[in-house]
């Protein structure tokens, strides 16, 4: 937790740094999403203000905003099934190490219309931008790899762990916006980083970061903590609960 707080402070510092032409000021509706027994996911809203000063280059087109949300990193394995006699089992697998286990791309219209492919890659607007490049591999491996990567994107999107929403950004004023971040109930606990970029005429003017933490609190935190740090006690209590409930049921419903 200490490490997380330090990271948060650092991120808050980054967001408030003095800038060149445009300044981007960010704030979040909450710094902490608390998981309680009734938790089913949460909404976090980022508010942003684009400050212009005399040095700002005048633009004919309005500002546009692209946000990405990265959850805690983890390893994800994609299996490809192959035929073995009459049954289908995993024939090949690919481990994608240390990629965000929750990832969202949020904007006001499809990002491909806002920035060029190169800029999208620089801003890491796809989950695959977090993976090592594959262009140096032999051609046949590239085909296999890109198949696995496509499957990764598709399956993560189906699971709700990869969320692309071209309607999540609202420009309230030409220089004032909100970004709605939806944290699904299944998303893992940990630190979530929001990267917000301001774009005009296809040029990335400014990028800022903000972060929030998803953590269990109260009873759920106590249970999870006990299961991890006091495992023998947790085990004994669980076993005791099972025996007592079983005994109670026998006692309550006995008919002889």
């Amino acid at each position: 937790m200490k490490r997380l707080s330090a990271l948060l402070l650092m991120l808050a510092g980054l967001a408030a740094q003095p800038t060149r032409a445009q300044e981007l000021v960010l704030t979040l509706s909450t710094r902490e999403v608390a998981i309680t027994s009734t938790y089913t996911g949460a909404d976090v809203t980022a508010f942003g203000f684009i400050e212009r000063d005399v040095r700002s280059v005048p633009r004919t087109e309005p500002f546009e905003v692209i946000a990405t949300v990265q959850g805690p990193v983890g390893d994800i394995v994609v299996h490809r099934k192959g035929q073995l006699g009459p049954i289908w089992l995993t024939a090949a697998r690919e481990r994608f190490a240390r990629i965000p286990t929750y990832f969202a791309v949020l904007s006001a219209r499809p990002v491909s219309e806002i920035v060029s492919h190169e800029n999208a890659q620089r801003l890491k607007l796809s989950l695959t931008d977090y993976l090592p490049p594959i262009d140096t591999l032999p051609p046949d491996e590239i085909t296999a790899q890109s198949e696995f990567r496509q499957a990764l994107l598709r399956l993560r999107a189906e699971e709700g762990a990869l969320h692309i929403d071209p309607k999540a950004v609202t420009m309230v004023r030409p220089n004032l916006f909100t970004v709605k971040v939806n944290v699904p109930g299944k998303a893992p606990v940990g630190l979530y980083v929001i990267n917000i970029s301001v774009v005009a005429e296809g040029i990335v003017l400014r990028t800022a970061q903000a972060g929030f933490v998803v953590r269990k609190v109260g009873f759920d935190a106590a249970v999870a903590d006990a299961a991890k740090n006091r495992a023998p006690l947790y085990a004994l209590i669980t076993a005791l609960i099972a025996v007592l409930l079983g005994w109670f049921a026998n006692f309550a419903f006995r008919r002889d």
Binding site: V78, R80, Q83, P232, T238, A242, W247, A249
Partner: protein, 311 residues
Amino acid sequence: MQIYLPIAELPLSLFLLLGMGAAVGFIAGLFGVGGGFLLTPFLIFIGVPAPVAVATSSVHIAASSVTGALTYWRRQALDSRLGAVLIVGGVLGTALGVLFFNQMRRLGYLDVIITLSYVTLLMSIGCLMFVESIGAMLESRKQQRAGVAPLKAAPEKAWHQRLPFHMHFARSKLTTSVIPVVGLGTIIGFIGTVLGIGGGFLVVPALIYLFRIPTNVVVGTSLLQIVVTMLVAIFLHATISQAVDVILGLVLVVGGVIGAQFGVRTGQTLKGEQFRLLLAMLILAVGVRFAFEIVGKPPDPFVISTVEVER
């Protein structure tokens, strides 16, 4: 109403879980089995991670077998001496099972192993029981026509009695070597821990057909063994795999306890062979459901299986 499960780390509907616990409890009470072979697949199906589903099922099985074992204990319908020897093997098998479970989980083979084992185990046991109960039904019809019950000639000395370390189990009317009994306990403990099942549907036929133990003590003895091995499984799964979700377990047990009472009442109206035929069909149905997952070309050749989050 959704409830957040702190170890499984996802919210699920409280009523769905209670209903599932009750449905499995009903089947368990009806057939005198733990119901783990239904519960674990159900839990995996609704999105609980496989390790948590397997580990938490042991809580449900432990509770329901405590209820059952107490009933048989009061009726003196269990052989605690035989149960104790089975438990010795069961604890050994459970420990081996948890180690194997974690090794496979680390290597990422756990899901495949669980699916394959379910298919082979359920299909073979289901088929055996199906054939046996049909045979028994035909047999009893033939006997009714002939009017005389044929005496089954018991062999002088069964294979298991030729091994060393004999022990006498008075209530089971059996004197045999402890080696096959401990061995049976070990196998059941191992399978039970890896698959999240009690193994009652394996122990009961084994005791009846291999050791020819009177049916009236078999179920109670098997329940006694399941109670102890499942308690050991809870402990080991919670300390080593850290995958036991106490909240999920609690909700399932509450549902299960209620369902089991209705199951027991319904079960008393069924005849022996009918009962075994129904159980066989149920086991086969679950086996077929699992088989469909791996037989035939899958609609999507890609699956995501493990998500290990760094903390």
